[in-house]
Amino acid sequence: MRFVDLANQFKAQVRVKKGECVVDGKNPMEMMLLEASQGSTMELAADGPDAAGAIEALAALVASGFGEM
């Protein structure tokens, strides 16, 4: 779970929204259950001192099409 690993490097809370579903981006089980497949749309939100950096890094990872999950 590269996404989760990366999210956990930040202090900020990370929320991932897909459709109606909002989950904790730092929790591997929640992220798996979100079942994001390639081409689906996710919204990222972060809250905390390093929120901006977290969003930037995570968005870059997703955009690079890491294709896991």
């Binding site: 956990n8 904790d24 089980m29 929640e30």
Partner: protein, 579 residues
């Protein structure tokens, strides 16, 4: 006091404290805690997380070292769940807000996730629920279970209580101080049953719910002869069984005296008594019990003890270890007999619908020639160490036998090219354990150096009864007239053809069938080492003429009930304590 009745799987009486193996269902001692205890529960939770994380770390390292990084990575997810995100916080909330006990909160939270995974449309994701269940169990064990799964450090001899045991777990019993086994599942001829019997550990199986009704530390009487388990016995019961324990000890020491006496009938016919073994260390017991050799050396343990196929050296080491201790006595090594009840199904990606009729045993080997030849080469290399013979299981026709021999020929060529010595004349035999082989025995006898009748499978295939299924297990009996006739025909043909014939199923070690088998002409029996003294005693107490009379009469009955009553009566006459 509670008396539970199950299937008597391995005889003997033991009295000891229970050790309950994780059945997957930890009993949560209490659901809620008073407000003032919340802090203590939170502390317990913290500790359980810490312990679980430490465990996972060492498990991951050990796995990586033994099996490689890739396989160890399955623990990354477990590790991530425990260390990342807010699972612990989520559980702590349940404790704070609902006054749940730590154990109950762990179960609630993780069961919730398991349910969600099970609803996923994607098969691979759905399977993840097992990982979550594993995580739940690990946490619960660290919360409430006192190291249930670690049997190697038992402080005192104990009786193991479990729902079921995997083959690798039963193989590990050896190292633990387990003197009795009580199980919810299992039947007379399940793999675990065979293992405990060969180790001489009394056992009762098919107890349905014993693992839920017993706690570690409870005093238990286990009567593997009658199939009873008595939980928390009262003083009278305890006294009665202590006396029984002493009586049985006296009987078995009487049987030990028989060890050095020959297995000869009253009219001077020499009978060969061999042992079935599973592990090399059993050779010691085998010799103590007076076996003349190994009639069946099962080799599956080599495949069960790790995830990888064993290497040629691992095979070779295991075989030579036996040869070193057995001297010039014969050792019949059976090639891989995996499939069906053992191991392959639980590991298979695509389980067979009817594994007993599926790709098992020799069929598996002939479709996977490379690993098969690894084993054949190792057996051939061992052949220079003593009287080694090779036996192919589950042969159901001549083509299979020829193919197996061809593979053996290829293995010989390999060794020849490398200049490694082996015995070209090593005897090659088959197990007769399918009705097809029994019916076509005459043709098979022409192309084999010896046969061994595997009654466990032969009976189950003849009667179409799954011996591991408790619901039909009572229909499984060697006393069925169809089975008796089939055995008579096989043995008669083998004797006519002058091909050595042995019988290595459970039946060989069951005292009630000894007279019958002698009577139809069987002269070689192979059984669990512990059964040898008893069978020898019966052999020494009869004449062949008498056995022939008894066999004829047994063959005249129409139903298994009549047969077993008759054979029991006749056996009781000459060896009353045997039954």
């Amino acid at each position: 006091m509670e008396i539970k009745k199950g299937i008597a799987v391995s005889p003997g009486v033991v009295i000891a404290n229970a050790v309950v193996l994780d059945s997957g269902e930890y009993r949560i001692p209490y659901r809620n805690v008073p407000a003032e205890q919340v802090e203590a529960e939170l502390e317990k939770l913290r500790k359980a997380f810490e312990d679980s994380i430490t465990e996972l770390n060492s498990l991951r390292d050990a796995t990586a070292e033994q099996l490689g990084r890739d396989i160890a990575s399955i623990f990354d997810f477990h590790y991530g769940v425990l260390t990342q995100g807010r699972l612990r916080e989520q559980i702590a909330q349940l404790i704070r807000n609902q006054n749940y006990s730590a154990a109950f909160a762990v179960r609630e939270a993780l069961r919730g996730y398991q349910r969600r995974f099970l609803k996923m449309p994607d098969q691979l994701l759905r399977e993840r629920y097992k990982d979550v269940r594993d995580i739940e169990r690990r946490l619960l064990r660290n919360l409430i279970g006192q190291e249930h799964e670690d049997l190697s450090n038992l402080p005192e001899p104990s009786i193991l209580v479990a729902h079921d045991l995997t083959p690798s777990q039963s193989a590990n019993l050896v190292k633990a101080k387990i003197i009795g086994v009580a199980m919810d599942a299992g039947g007379l001829t399940s793999h675990t049953a065979i293992v405990v019997r060969s180790m001489g550990i009394p056992a009762v199986m098919g107890l349905q719910n014993i693992s839920a009704g017993v706690s570690t530390g409870d005093t238990i009487i286990l009567d593997g002869t009658k199939g009873l388990v008595i939980v928390g016995p009262d003083p009278e019961m305890l006294a009665e069984y202590r006396a029984e324990e002493r009586r049985l000890a006296a009987v078995s020491s009487g049987l030990i005296e028989l060890r050095d006496k020959p297995a000869v009938t009253e009219d001077g016919v020499q009978i060969s008594l061999l042992a079935n073994i599973e592990f090399p260390y059993e050779v010691q017991t085998t010799l103590e019990k007076g076996a003349e050799g190994i009639g069946l050396y099962r080799t599956e343990f080599l495949y069960l003890r790790s995830e990888k196929e064993p290497t040629e050296e691992e095979h070779y080491d295991a075989y030579t270890l036996v040869m070193r201790n057995i001297g010039q006595r014969p050792v019949i090594i059976r090639t891989l007999d995996l499939g069906a009840d053992k191991y392959t199904q639980s590991q298979a990606r695509d389980p067979e619908r009817n594994p007993f009729l599926g790709l098992r045993s020799i069929r598996y080997c002939l479709q996977n020639l490379q690993p098969f030849k690894v084993q054949l080469r190792a057996i051939l290399r061992t052949s220079v160490e003593g009287d080694v013979r090779i036996m192919f299981p589950l042969i159901s026709g001549l083509m299979e036998l020829r193919q197996a021999k061809m593979a053996l020929g290829d293995a010989m060529e390999d060794l020849e090219e490398l200049g490694i010595p082996f015995r070209r004349d090593m005897p090659v035999g088959i197990m007769v354990e399918t009705p097809a082989a029994a019916i076509q025995i005459r043709e098979l006898l022409r192309e084999t150096d010896f046969i061994s009748i595997g009654t466990n499978d032969l009976i189950q295939y003849t009667l179409a009864v799954d011996r591991g299924n408790e619901r039909v297990a009572p229909l499984y009996t060697a006393s069925h007239p169809a089975v008796l006739r089939m055995l008579r025909d096989i043995i008669r043909e083998a004797n006519r053809a002058n091909v050595p014939c042995s019988l290595c199923g459970e039946m060989a070690g069951e005292p009630m069938y000894t007279l019958f088998l002698l009577g139809i002409g069987l002269r070689s029996f192979s059984m669990a080492p512990n059964d040898i003294p008893e069978i020898k005693k019966i052999i020494r107490s009869t004449t062949i003429a008498r056995a022939v009379r008894i066999a004829r009469r047994a063959l005249s009955f129409d139903t298994d009930r009549q047969v077993s009553n008759y054979l029991r009566d006749e056996t009781r006459r000459i060896a009353p304590e045997a039954l």
